[in-house]
Amino acid sequence: MSNVKFGLIGASYVAASRMVPAFQANGITPKALFDTDKERFQFWREHDLDLLTTDLDELLGSDIDAVYISSRNDQHASHAIAAAEARKHIIVEKPMALTLSDARTIVAAADQAGVVLAVNHHLPGSPLHATARQLVADGRIGTLYSARINHAVLLPENLREWRLADVPGGGVVFDITVHDASVLNPLFGAPPVRVTALGVSQAPWNTAGTRDSVMTILEYPTGDHGVPALAQTHDAFTVPCPGTSMEIHGEKGAILIGDAMTQDTPGTVELHTAAGVEAIDVDVSDDLYHINVRAFAAAVRGEGRPTATGQDGLDALEVALAVEESLRSGRTVNLTELGGSL
């Protein structure tokens, strides 16, 4: 079967720097690019695209099987729905939408059109996290009780734009907390039951005053073993060291993932038990976006599922929305209460 033919929706930085190389590594050469702002095409002259267009219908009418959507977060829903209606398979950047109702509409549109929908969370497919989930599944730490994610970093100067802007989807929660949720949810096997959070605006260069450091607690539901679990995250744009990490705790042991949340760094996995500390051998040579594209292409061929499905992306978004609601209201937020209002 011939390889998937991709069109790009959004002339974005992540598309050029991460996804085009990932497509090429999987033998895919994107042929078409849509953006509402033709000024952005100037950065794409070298990419040998057949079509650069500001007309979405023109892109969707071209010879493509699938689209990769990395437009502004508030545009994802309309772009994804149009792609689904044109029967194109979809990879959409995270967060997949800014409201639960938009996210649900995207999932429903993909289901109805019978197309594969993937959300481009790069961490769930990481060999580090896959290894950690396997260690838990193999009973190496006993009953799973808790996890902590340190995902506080320093936002590079060249990225201090929309991420800090006081607009829908701006701030650290939609940028980073969704990533934490994308790995915590599959670790605990379900979305959390409730969340609470505190947030501040710290950086002198954050003139918009949006939250640039947020700490969150999540309660995960009682699993097969009948025990509720707790997770804690710190997401920030203001903290240069000591780097990201994740700890997973069980009754019999713990798993430490070094450099757990980065896009590039190899990272490490350690198993701590009564027997001592064991460095777990993990092959981290594979690029995280290559892994996503490979799984997506396989799913399009009917083999397996994407690394993060539309439902996985929706579950991660729901956590971010609940965190925002907790920050706004000063309450612990039950996810079942969120409903379609957000």
């Binding site: 009780y145 505190l198 501040v200 607690i217 707790l230 903290v239």
Partner: protein
């Protein structure tokens, strides 16, 4: 005692030390395993042991502590300068007030009480009777934490923006008594979170403003309603640069987690490993854009001896105890706010914390 030997000097281990005698209120595990060795090392005489449960005295048969009694007045009428209180947490207030009225200085275990109003009553009783009140938070004066605060004060961290504490571990089977019961003051928050607060408060140097927390009851061996695992978030008031700061703490009796730590976050970072233990030496590491460098810390001193030396000096009018009654109250506030937040499912403002 003080009158009888005033001006005398007894020599312990070659070092001159002021004569000093203490009575024990509470035949506890910590009194025996931690404080008796510390008293002995500093030449502090132990005279009298009170507990309201005589069955506990049998564990003290070999302790050489004489004067076991179930009558607190009898202990307080003895020839002692001070009292160390390590009874159940809900008994601290009544005993401390009685001790203050008897004119004895007070070293009380943490948490000092189970309510803010009670802590204030204890502070007032000590002040009114002119006795020193110290709370036995062993971590505050740890060389590791002193060093961490010094790194911040010296500008080595830059602008302090946050801190994270891992204080999760497995509660040893022999300590699964009152800590995990349905009694007042049981549970992980008043046992461990109060310690976290005792080191975070002086690290940030500003008041905690609000707290949110979630608690759980996890392992099969805890069949009580007492929480054995809690995660807490704290917002501290602004630094000199004007921005609020965040801290989180994870306290647990249930997980086989690796060693405890405190991460101090700023333009640079510092990581203190084995930060929350009673014994382990621990390390401090400075993290900068250039990499990591160990910070030299002398961990040779016993944490309880550090507290006792400061307590003894304060009694002699030199300086303050490591943790004063007021500082103990501030740490208690954080723990009580975490309990209230976990129970009510909302963020609790410290200024609106229930007093009772």
């Amino acid at each position: 005692m003080t009158d009888a030997v005033e001006g005398g000097v007894c020599v312990v281990g070659g070092l001159p030390a002021s004569p000093f005698t203490i009575g024990l209120v509470g035949a506890s595990n910590i009194a025996m395993t931690r404080m008796l060795p510390a008293f002995a090392a500093l030449g502090i005489g132990v005279r009298g042991l009170y507990d309201n449960e005589p069955r506990r005295f049998r564990y003290w048969a070999d302790s050489c502590v004489e004067g076991q009694t179930t009558n607190l007045d009898q202990l307080l009428s003895g020839d002692i300068d001070a009292v160390y209180i390590s009874t159940r947490n809900d008994q601290h207030l009544a005993e401390a007030v009685a001790v203050a009225k008897a004119g004895k200085h007070i070293l009380v275990e943490k948490p000092m009480t189970l309510s803010i109003a009670d802590a204030q009553t204890m502070i007032d009783a000590a002040t009114h009777n002119g006795v020193v009140l110290a709370v036995n938070h062993h971590l505050v004066a740890s060389p590791l934490h002193v060093n961490g605060r010094q790194l911040v004060a010296d500008g080595r961290i830059g602008n302090l923006v946050g801190a994270r504490i891992n204080n999760a571990g497995t509660l040893p089977a022999h300590l699964r008594g009152w800590r995990l019961s349905n009694a007042p003051g049981a549970g992980v928050i008043l046992d461990l979170t109060v310690h976290d607060a005792s080191v975070l408060n002086p690290l940030f140097g500003t008041t905690p403003l609000e707290i949110t927390a979630m608690a759980a009851t996890q392992p099969a061996w805890n069949d009580t309603s007492a929480a054995d695992s809690v995660m807490t978030l704290i917002r501290y008031g602004p630094s000199s640069s004007g921005a609020d700061r965040l801290a989180f703490a994870h306290d647990s009796f249930t997980v086989a987690a690796p060693s405890s730590y405190l991460e101090i976050l700023g333009d640079q970072g510092a990581v203190i490993r084995d930060a929350m233990n009673q014994d382990t030496a621990g390390t401090v590491e400075l993290h900068t854009s250039e990499g990591r460098a160990p910070v030299d810390v002398d961990c040779g001193d016993d944490l309880y001896q550090i507290l006792l030396r400061a307590f003894r000096a304060a009694i002699h009018g030199e300086g303050q105890p490591t943790v004063t009654g007021t500082e103990g109250l501030l740490a208690l506030q954080v723990a009580l706010a975490a309990e209230q937040s976990a129970a009510e499912g909302r963020t609790v403002e410290i200024s609106k914390l229930q007093l009772h």
